[in-house]
């Protein structure tokens, strides 16, 4: 065949017809945050799961007390810093309670309460914020990843872990927590994209508490809602009232079930509010009004649940008192143990950099050992001198 004949035979094939790859409609979140408390939907839940509601209530009361106690510990110099989750306890508690024992939780630095609600010792959860080490617990023990400070960087970890578990045939679900500010980070985008492509069993919980330190959501995103971002990745987005513990529990449980059944990831946006400043080192009066805070206090997650339970006869004064007493006992124990100085060994600085220290680290370790010995020698000498001084008197 000649070149001309080839040309004559050439017929461009039409481009394949474009079709949407996924129907976006089922992925879209509700127009308004889903609520249960104070709605008709509460009837069915109260009838079917009274024990769950009481459990949520007890955990919320305990969680609030944990927040106030940790904040007090910063004022006493026992914590270097505390990013409070006051006002967000429903998100923290629900995130912990919807997981099975063998599931994994990936918290950010504001989510120590979720870790505690999952069973972690509060003292261990607060180690990072006390400053005696970076992580105070073995992540494998309660399946709680280390508290993550760089924003949204824990999200791809959750995706990778869930993917690995699925490859191994384990029915593990990972629940990863992030704030509204964190959704602007590249790692948020990459994690959601990987999760959706791999159909990894992950639930992303965004606590939209209104502010990234001082920056309000309006300066963070132009999206219709953060939950809408899910649609672009091909996963369902769910919008829920983040101060309604019962609605959160329902939505997150459904997302966990969906993931465990092989349905892939879900993005849940919980609309809530950070009642306290970003941390004790922040001054929230510079960027928001008291009236705004007061309006949110009227929508307090504990008060909402307490009203519902009381109205339905599921909680009486004794029940409230019992929950508060339990919370006080937890706070007293936390206070007592946090008031003890942690045992520090400077040589730990070299112990875990590598499986085996490099020759260079061995040299530096020797140097620090000598400095510590010299310090002790000086202390001992000073002690001996003081003793001698005492003798002369």
């Amino acid at each position: 065949m000649t070149v001309m004949e080839q040309r004559g035979a050439y017929r461009p094939t039409p481009p394949p017809a474009w079709q949407p790859r996924t129907d976006p409609a089922p992925l879209l979140p509700d127009a308004r945050p889903y609520r249960v408390l104070g709605t008709d939907a509460a009837d069915a839940v109260a009838d079917a799961h009274p024990a769950l509601l009481r459990r949520l209530y007890a955990q919320l009361v305990c969680g609030r007390r944990y927040n106030t106690q940790a904040t007090a510990l910063t004022r006493q110099g026992r914590l270097a810093v505390y990013p409070s989750s006051t006002g967000q306890e429903a998100c923290e508690v629900a995130a912990a309670l919807v997981l099975e024992d063998h599931d994994w939780l990936f918290p950010s630095y504001r989510d120590t309460l979720a870790a505690v609600a999952r069973g972690l010792d509060p003292v261990q959860a607060l180690t990072l914020l006390r400053g005696d080490w970076h992580t105070g617990y073995d992540p494998h023990e309660h399946r709680v990843a280390p508290l993550c400070t760089p924003l949204a960087t824990q999200l791809p970890h959750a995706v990778g872990l869930a993917h690995a578990a699925r490859l191994k045939g384990d029915d593990v679900v990972a629940l990863a927590m992030v704030g509204d500010g964190g959704t602007s980070e590249g790692d948020f985008h990459e994690a959601l994209n990987f999760a959706a492509v791999w159909q990894a069993p992950v639930v992303f919980l965004v606590q939209n508490n209104g502010y990234a330190i001082s920056v309000p959501l309006a300066k963070q995103t132009a999206a219709p809602s953060l939950a809408h971002k899910a649609v672009g990745y091909g996963m369902p987005g769910r919008l829920v009232d983040g101060n309604d513990a019962v609605a959160l529990h329902e939505v997150l449980s459904a997302a966990v079930r969906h993931a465990r059944a092989g349905g892939g990831p879900t993005l849940v946006e919980a609309v809530t509010y950070r009642i306290d400043a970003h941390t004790n080192a922040d001054d929230a009066t510079r960027y928001r009004n008291d009236s705004e805070v007061e309006a949110w206090r009227e929508h307090d997650p504990i008060a909402l649940l307490e009203r519902e339970l009381t109205a339905r006869g599921l909680l009486d004064e004794d029940g409230v008192r019992a929950a508060r007493e339990d919370a006080e006992a937890m706070a007293a124990d936390l206070r007592e143990r946090m008031n003890q100085d942690p045992a520090l060994d400077p040589m730990d600085l070299f112990a875990h950099v590598y499986a085996e220290p490099t020759p260079q680290l061995l040299e530096q370790q020797t140097q620090l050992r000598a400095e510590l010995d010299a310090e002790q020698g000086v202390t001992a000498e000073a002690g001996a001198a003081a003793h001698a001084e005492g003798d002369r008197r």
Binding site: W133, H134, T135, D138, P139, H140, A145, P146, P150, T153, L155, P156, H157, A158, V159, G160, L161, A162, H163, A164, A165, L167, K168, V172, A174, G186, D187, E190, A191, N193, F194, V197, D348, A351, H352, V353, Y354, A355, T358, P359, Q360
Partner: protein
């Protein structure tokens, strides 16, 4: 005694073989990255792995380096041993936060409870006529990050041995592959691969008495060529191939310089803030009384990596190395 059939093999083939053998030996080893599956990698280093082990073990990921390394962290947390390919040196930068804030620190952060046995393969260096962002020498960034091991092979045999060692390591290893040596060939027995080299040992590639060239990766063959050329000048140069930048083999390097009394550090990376400054300082601290001359550096210029038609002026070559050797105060000898 059986005779072994030696066949020429390229460094790229040896690296692929190392991954294949590691995957066959350990079901937790997973290879992941951009184009590593169906295509076999843009340099064909992962050729055949997806076919042999399936796409769950050799995975084409979305095109996002932070996501690749970030998900590898999660996989390692669950007991897998990911081998991550960054397609080119300069494309690895989006993954720096994951590398520096998580990969390098997780063991330390968790007091040893959560080590991350991740190998990050990075094709690096110039000399292949690559356009912008395809020829960076990024080793100084990695060296400056505690918690990482940083290794780089210069021979086909080392490529196999070091990569097996990196994958077997319980610490994260940044494995820098000199891309202009990918097609270098050596007689190599693919039926009986060389044993796994321990990470952290330098090797004397060419013994000599006059001066030591301290180098690694893509500059090793250049230094060997320079050493041959130096014979004509009457210099008998020793060439030390570091193989591992972290941990650094002070012992082998210092022993060589104490023998020769003179040293030149050679690398493609820029000189200012580059590995050569650290190496020269370490040599001076350990060998001061044996030195006949200051330790010199032959490095890339302190410029953004040049366009391909100008890169030969940037890369340390034989002449520039010999010029440095000539400046090692030989007049004191006479």
């Amino acid at each position: 005694m059986t005779t072994v059939a030696l066949k020429p093999a390229t460094m790229a083939q040896a690296l692929g073989r190392a991954m294949r053998d590691a995957m066959a030996a350990d079901p937790t080893v997973h290879v992941m990255g951009e184009d590593v599956g169906t295509l076999g990698g843009v340099f064909r280093v992962t050729d055949g792995l997806a076919k042999e082990f399936g796409e769950d073990r050799c995975t084409d990921t979305p095109l996002a380096e932070a996501g690749i390394l970030g998900t590898a962290v999660g996989m390692a947390m669950y007991g897998l041993r990911p081998v991550v390919e960054m397609q080119f040196d300069a494309f690895a930068y989006p993954a720096f936060e994951q590398l520096i804030s998580h990969v390098a620190r997780m063991r330390n952060r968790t007091r040893g409870a959560m080590p991350l046995p991740i190998t990050v393969r990075v094709p690096y260096g110039g000399g292949i006529g690559g356009v912008e962002h395809h020829s960076d020498s990024s080793e100084a960034y990695y060296m400056a990050t505690p918690g990482l091991h940083v290794v780089t092979p210069a021979t086909v045999a080392d490529a196999y041995g070091l990569l097996r060692a990196a994958i077997a390591s319980d610490d994260p290893v940044v494995f820098l592959e000199p891309k202009r040596l990918y097609w270098s060939k050596e007689s190599w027995n693919p039926e009986e691969p060389v044993p796994v080299e321990p990470i952290g040992r330098a090797v004397v590639r060419r013994p000599g008495r006059s001066a030591t060239l301290i180098t690694y990766g893509p500059s090793v063959p250049v230094c060997l060529e320079a050493a041959e050329a130096a014979c004509e000048e009457g210099w008998d140069l020793e060439v030390v191939d570091l193989r591992s930048l972290v941990p650094f083999d002070d012992e082998t390097v210092a022993a060589s310089v104490r023998r020769t009394g003179r040293a030149v550090v050679v690398h493609e990376s820029g000189g200012f803030g580059g590995p050569g400054g650290e190496i020269a300082a370490r040599v001076t601290e350990r060998c001061f009384h044996h030195l006949e001359a200051p330790v010199l550096r032959v490095a890339g210029f302190d410029i953004p990596y040049p366009p391909p038609m100008l890169e030969r002026h940037h890369l340390p070559g034989v002449d520039r190395i010999l010029d440095a050797v000539a400046r090692l105060q030989w007049e004191a000898e006479s």
